[in-house]
């Protein structure tokens, strides 16, 4: 059978929404779609796939890339080798996709955000979305990770209900789950703010951050940041916007010195009004913003302070 194997991402009992993008790309690829999912009480969109393979394994076992190799083998034994295997572009998907590629000697293209069916071309971001590469696989089964938000509208309902079967999977000893570690609770919750002033690497150095704190104070905004600013500990982790930080949806998101990498955009793109300030007119963030200013953020900061005070 010619089919696409879609490896579903589940975390803490939730069938992640970004799986819909894998289902969408699956539909575009044209072959039948088979969904791999751990056997559990998940809400699985079974209308969008032709068959489901449930793995008798706990979620933590399923998400472990070493175990995933064995599960894929079991799935191949049940269904034959797929044309393509899709993972989500996420902390678990990226890890398992690369590992499976090495294990099965399969080509891998990560962060796929576009597909041209006629040409058989996959689109992949380079340099934080400043340019894209068009890729072809050498006509052999490939592993792809799918960028969240890129394909969900293509997910297509099937006429017949998906048949499900169950496979077993044994866990490896070389990597074992210990526990989840929650983020520390803090008093400021950026997901509740109506107005976020968000700063990125363009801030330059730690000494400049206080000027943005002042501006946020004057404008009654809450200060948040992109990952590099949090990595450098210029702002606390709870202030990070993006996939590995918080998803925010304020009335206004004012981004200063943020380029617009996908992991950042994913965390703020649904804000009511996005305003971006960046000195690079080609910065990808301007594609997502409602309003844009090309210029030096420090000058904009100082002028805003002056005008808002006066």
């Amino acid at each position: 059978m010619s089919y696409t194997l879609i490896v579903a991402e589940v975390r803490r009992g939730v069938f992640e929404e970004r799986n819909l993008d894998s289902l969408g790309l699956g539909a575009l690829l044209g072959a039948q779609s088979v969904l791999l999912v751990p056997d559990g009480a998940y809400q699985v969109p079974d209308k969008f796939v032709d068959a489901i393979v449930k793995v008798k394994a706990a979620e933590e076992v399923y998400l472990n890339p070493m175990n995933m190799g064995r599960m894929l083998e079991a799935a191949f034994a049940a269904k034959g080798k797929p044309d393509n295997i899709l993972f989500t572009q996420s902390s678990s998907g990226m890890e398992a996709a690369a590992y499976a590629a090495g294990l099965f000697g399969m080509p891998v293209i990560t962060d796929v955000s576009g597909y041209d069916r006629d040409a058989g071309i996959f689109l992949k971001s380079y340099y934080s979305d400043k340019v894209f590469g068009q890729f072809k696989t050498a006509g052999v089964p490939a592993i792809l990770t799918v960028r969240s938000g890129s394909f969900r509208e293509f997910a297509a309902e099937k006429t017949a209900a998906a048949a499900a079967e169950t496979i077993d999977a044994a866990a490896v000893e070389t990597r074992t789950f210990v526990e989840y570690v929650e983020e520390e609770k803090t008093d400021i919750d950026i997901t509740k703010a109506e107005f976020l002033l968000s700063v990125g690497r363009g801030v330059g150095n730690q000494g400049e951050v206080s000027g943005y704190e002042e501006l946020a104070g004057i404008l009654k905004a809450v200060l948040s940041g992109s990952r590099p600013v949090i990595d450098k500990m210029w702002l606390p982790k709870a202030r990070q916007v993006g996939t590995s930080g918080k998803t925010v949806k304020p009335k206004v998101y004012l981004a200063m010195g943020i380029s617009g990498a996908f992991q950042h955009i994913a965390g703020m793109k649904d804000s009511d009004c996005i305003i971006a300030v960046n000195k690079d007119p080609e910065a990808p963030i301007f594609q997502y913003a409602h309003y844009g200013i090309v210029g030096d953020i420090h000058k904009v900061r100082d002028k805003l302070k002056e005008l808002a005070k006066g």
Binding site: S92, M94, A97, Q134, V178, A276, A289, Y291, L304
Partner: protein, 258 residues
């Protein structure tokens, strides 16, 4: 603990205008400055910290042209003992080819190691795949998005992986293993020009990539293209005061500011 840490020299394109040449054959990087891959800066620091505590030595390895020696000198300045350059003329776009090259290089040169560190991803190609591919090819356990290393024992490590939305998972991995380090795991030490100059006195070894298997590329980059324009923002133009006035006007209109 012997640690091999992979470090890549990448184009610093964040503030540069990128031009695609010809019919999409290449991206012109001739005027773009180069630097160490941000993620690899964190992994070199982590390698040095592990060895400071557990003993052993750090070897930094880079795959690239002769210029990549720069990131090896930097790693040595940070505390690596050795620097190995696997010199290749052509850019290996396919992460599989790089993973295969890493496997065969370590195998053929019989380089001893307990832990291999890579970054989560390269800033330029953002594949986030080389570490995982190399691990599988070498038959080693693997973990990526490593945001904390809590224990390093002779036969295992306990690490924390960063998941989405601020959640982490604690995982035990047997040694030898491959770990891909997430940015923010530590505070990389400052490296001065003087430090790099001093590091230049430490001999770096150069190995020709031709001597190792890298298999045939499994994927082909056929063309470079610019991002599709999505409508984009209404740009506020004019003098600084004027632009900022317009911005404040929008904030008022949206009701977040008087």
């Amino acid at each position: 603990m012997n640690i091999l840490v992979f470090t890549k020299r990448v184009a610093a394109t964040q503030e540069e205008e990128l031009r695609i040449t010809g019919e999409g054959q290449a991206v012109d990087l001739s005027k773009v400055p180069f630097k160490v891959n941000d993620w690899d800066n964190y992994s070199v620091e982590e390698a040095v910290r592990i060895v400071d505590k557990a003993g052993g030595s750090v070897t930094a390895i880079s795959i690239g042209d002769a210029e990549s020696d720069e990131v090896l000198r930097r790693a040595i300045a940070m505390g690596a003992k050795d620097g190995f350059l696997v010199e290749t003329g052509d850019v290996l776009n396919d992460p599989f080819a790089r993973g295969e090259l890493i496997r065969s290089f370590i195998d053929k040169e019989k380089i001893p190691f307990d832990i291999i560190l890579t970054g989560v991803q390269s800033e330029d190609d953002q594949f986030g795949a080389v570490g995982g591919i190399a691990a599988a090819l070498m038959g080693l356990p693997y973990a990526s998005m490593v945001i904390g290393i809590d224990a390093v024992e002779a036969d295992h490590v306990v690490i924390r992986r960063e998941l989405e939305g601020g959640l982490q998972e604690k995982v035990k991995v047997t040694v030898p293993c491959v770990l891909s380090i997430q940015s923010g795991i530590n505070e990389p030490r400052y490296v001065s020009i003087m430090g790099i100059r001093k590091a230049s006195k430490v001999e770096r070894k150069v190995f020709k990539a031709d001597g190792y298997e890298k298999g045939s590329p499994k994927i082909e980059l056929t063309k470079w293209v610019y991002p599709e324009k999505k409508g984009g923002a209404t740009m506020l133009d004019g003098e600084l005061a004027d632009v900022c006035g317009q911005l404040l006007g929008i904030l008022k209109e949206k009701g977040v500011c008087q």
